[in-house]
């Protein structure tokens, strides 16, 4: 038979090709025992190379993979998202070095899976078709299931992996059902075609299918961003996972899901806005409330950060209501800042854990200010930023986010969000208080002495970035605005 091969444009999927190849190279080199020490640095190099190429592609306009079935598109939005993921992964690699050695999980597969996860996130961000979105999501999820369970000898790591796997598979099922309904309504999996079906005349039956599909998609994506009521896994999984993996999980995978949500809600489902705005506003407020209130009583640091990340997901849901470019730009800006902040917070715990110091609870941080001044300073900057105190990036991010919500006309949502954000001051500042005001009862093992160089580099970089963006936010904001400009 005659089969016309479609005209494809590999340039459009370059970032993804680079990342997948990088991961595969790391995987193969990692098999040789003699290169073991070099693997993290090789991963850093390859990630950096992929990043440089992605930067070069910025501004080259939307290019689709193929005209007949686009599947993926290379535009500024996807590229900026990919750059954020790559930066997050590079910081994760840096804080992993000493942690992985201390826990003897420093194998090539660890870093390879990390980069595979980044490629999956990048696929999600570039997708313009439900097919490639789902496959990207699975590439990300399966890598994460394995990474969470990487510390095989730790019961917590196994428990976290199993929990995330079972619930994640369930969430994927919801997403697939949603996609099936959307396909049934529009006869295609392409975002554009679904959007056109929504824009045209539609019967009640098709409307029901579209609503059902959107609802099921929101359940699945809500699980990934730990939106209440699909958040129950978050604290257990973060607590059990290896600390750098928890850092990656709380930033990268969440950011990827948000990026997809911006594409879906912004350019596919504006036609159903009347229906999803009330739903998401209630869920966003619930997410903010549950995250902030439950975080108040946490003494375990990873659980505290888990609830704080739930609350942050809630803030980031608010600008969706106004569905404007400003709103989307403020979400992208928040995501970038949030990645730096959360990687910093988990990074401090990872660097401490690599020294063999226990850093499970608040009490373990007592006296950190005198034992490890630099580390404590980084932690303080990160906590101030998470709480949203100027002159940190966290303040700027919250400022743009809430002003976009207010401009959109949802003043009451902004007020509720800000009130709960005030509540969050208590538990963030408590960490700072414990570090500087409480003397350590007894010096824990490995509490003093030199910390891992690469880990400290990553932490100082993110702390500096937080301060720099807090003072000069305009460059980053312009990048975020440019990213959402390319969205239809």
């Amino acid at each position: 038979m005659n089969m016309a091969l479609p005209a494809i444009n590999l340039y459009a999927v370059m970032p993804q090709i680079f990342l997948v190849s990088a991961a595969t190279v790391v995987l193969i080199i990692g098999l040789f025992e003699r290169f073991r020490k070099g693997i993290p640095y090789l991963s850093l190099l390859l990630l950096a190379v992929s990043g440089v190429f992605a930067v070069n592609q910025l501004g080259q306009g939307p290019v689709a993979f193929s005209d007949t079935s686009p599947m993926m598109v290379m535009d500024d939005f996807g590229l900026v998202a990919t750059l954020v993921f790559i930066a997050g992964a590079m910081l994760t690699v840096l804080i992993s070095v000493s942690y992985a050695e201390a826990r003897s999980i420093d194998r090539g597969e660890y870093y390879a899976l990390l980069i595979y996860a980044v490629s999956g996130m990048s696929m999600m961000a570039a997708s313009t078709d439900l097919f490639s979105f789902f496959l990207g999501l699975e590439v990300l999820s399966i890598s994460l299931y394995v990474l969470i369970g990487f510390e095989q000898r730790e019961a917590g790591s196994n428990e976290g992996a199993l929990k995330y796997f079972l619930l994640g598979a369930f969430a994927s099922g919801f997403i697939l059902y949603g996609m099936a309904l959307l396909y049934g309504a529009s006869g295609s999996t392409e975002y554009d075609v679904i959007a056109r079906t929504l824009a045209g005349e539609r019967s009640d039956a098709v409307n029901l299918l579209l609503l059902g599909g959107l609802g099921l998609l929101l359940v699945g994506i809500g699980f990934k961003i730990s939106m209440v009521p699909f958040h129950a896994w978050t604290p257990d999984v973060y607590q059990g996972a290896p600390t750098p993996v928890a850092a990656f999980l709380s930033t990268g995978s969440k950011a990827a899901a948000f990026v997809v949500l911006i594409r879906l809600l912004g350019s596919v489902f504006p036609g159903l806005q009347m229906e999803w705005v009330p739903l998401i506003s209630v869920l966003a407020i619930l997410t903010i409330a549950v995250g902030n209130v439950v975080a108040l009583v946490q003494t375990n640091l990873k659980r505290l950060l888990a609830y704080s990340s739930i609350a942050h997901a809630g803030y980031m849901l608010l600008p969706f209501m106004s569905n404007s470019q400003d709103g989307s730009a403020s979400i992208v800006f928040y995501l970038i800042v949030y990645t730096a902040m959360n990687l910093g917070a988990f990074g401090v715990l990872a660097v401490l854990a690599a020294r063999g110091a226990s850093c499970a609870t608040l009490d373990d941080l007592a006296g950190l200010g005198s034992r490890q001044p630099l580390l404590a300073a980084v932690m303080a900057v990160v906590m101030f930023s998470l709480a949203g105190i100027p002159p940190t990036a966290g303040f700027m991010a919250k400022f743009y986010l809430f002003s976009a919500v207010v401009t959109g006309g949802y003043i009451e949502l902004a007020v509720i969000g800000l009130l709960f954000s005030g509540v969050s001051l208590y538990y963030y500042l408590r960490v700072v208080l414990w570090m500087y005001m409480r003397p350590a009862t007894e010096a824990p093992a490995g509490a003093t002495g030199r910390l891992s160089f690469s880990g400290m580099t990553a932490l100082c970089l993110s702390a500096l970035a937080i301060l720099a963006v807090g003072v000069f936010p305009s460059e980053l904001l312009q990048l975020a605005e440019r990213a959402v400009m390319t969205l239809p």
Binding site: M71, L113, M123, V139, V146
Partner: protein, 171 residues
């Protein structure tokens, strides 16, 4: 005639899935699940999707279910442990009923003359290996490539997670 076939497969599928849920012996559950798979394969046949029907039998009813059986027999699960989920049971019934109502409403609205989005039925060669193959190499080229990456990750993950401890290989 077609209606009778449809009814036959549909009734067998629904009845075996209900029986599967009510059954306490895991081995019977798996066997009933195979029944469900095979009757769904029959439904695919009626939709002219021969290839999908065969795959359904070979992959699901064949390979995956055998794997299920192996796991159950290896784990020596004889009977479900009773006593758990005391509170959850009535709650589950309530929630299921609540969920069922909108779905039922949806189905009813179809009976009232909604549109049925149809696949390209009736077209020559629909559902044959040839057409599916050419779709995989044209329209779905990129997803097939990503699926390859996905399988690689799954294999690596399985090896990583099942390797006992951290055996050092330097000698």
């Amino acid at each position: 005639m077609e209606l009778y076939f449809f009814l036959f497969f549909a009734v067998v599928a629904v009845a075996s899935s209900v029986a599967m849920i009510l059954q306490r012996n895991p081995i019977y559950c798996v066997l009933l699940l195979i029944m469900v798979m095979i009757s769904i394969a029959g439904l695919y046949l009626m939709l002219d999707a021969q290839f999908v029907a065969i795959i359904q039998v070979v992959v699901y009813a064949g390979a995956i279910m055998v794997l299920f059986l192996f796991v159950i027999m290896l784990l020596n699960l004889s009977r479900e442990e009773g006593g758990a989920f005391r509170i959850q049971k009535p709650l589950a019934v309530l929630l299921t009923v609540l969920l069922f109502l909108p779905v039922a409403a949806m189905v009813m609205s179809y009976a009232g003359g909604g549109t049925t989005p149809s696949a390209d039925g009736g077209q020559t060669g629909f559902g044959e290996v040839e057409q599916i193959g050419s779709l995989l190499f044209t329209k779905y080229l990129l997803p097939v490539e990503i699926a390859a990456v996905l399988l690689l990750i799954a294999i690596v993950g399985a090896v990583v997670l099942t390797r006992k401890g951290t055996v050092s290989v330097d000698d």
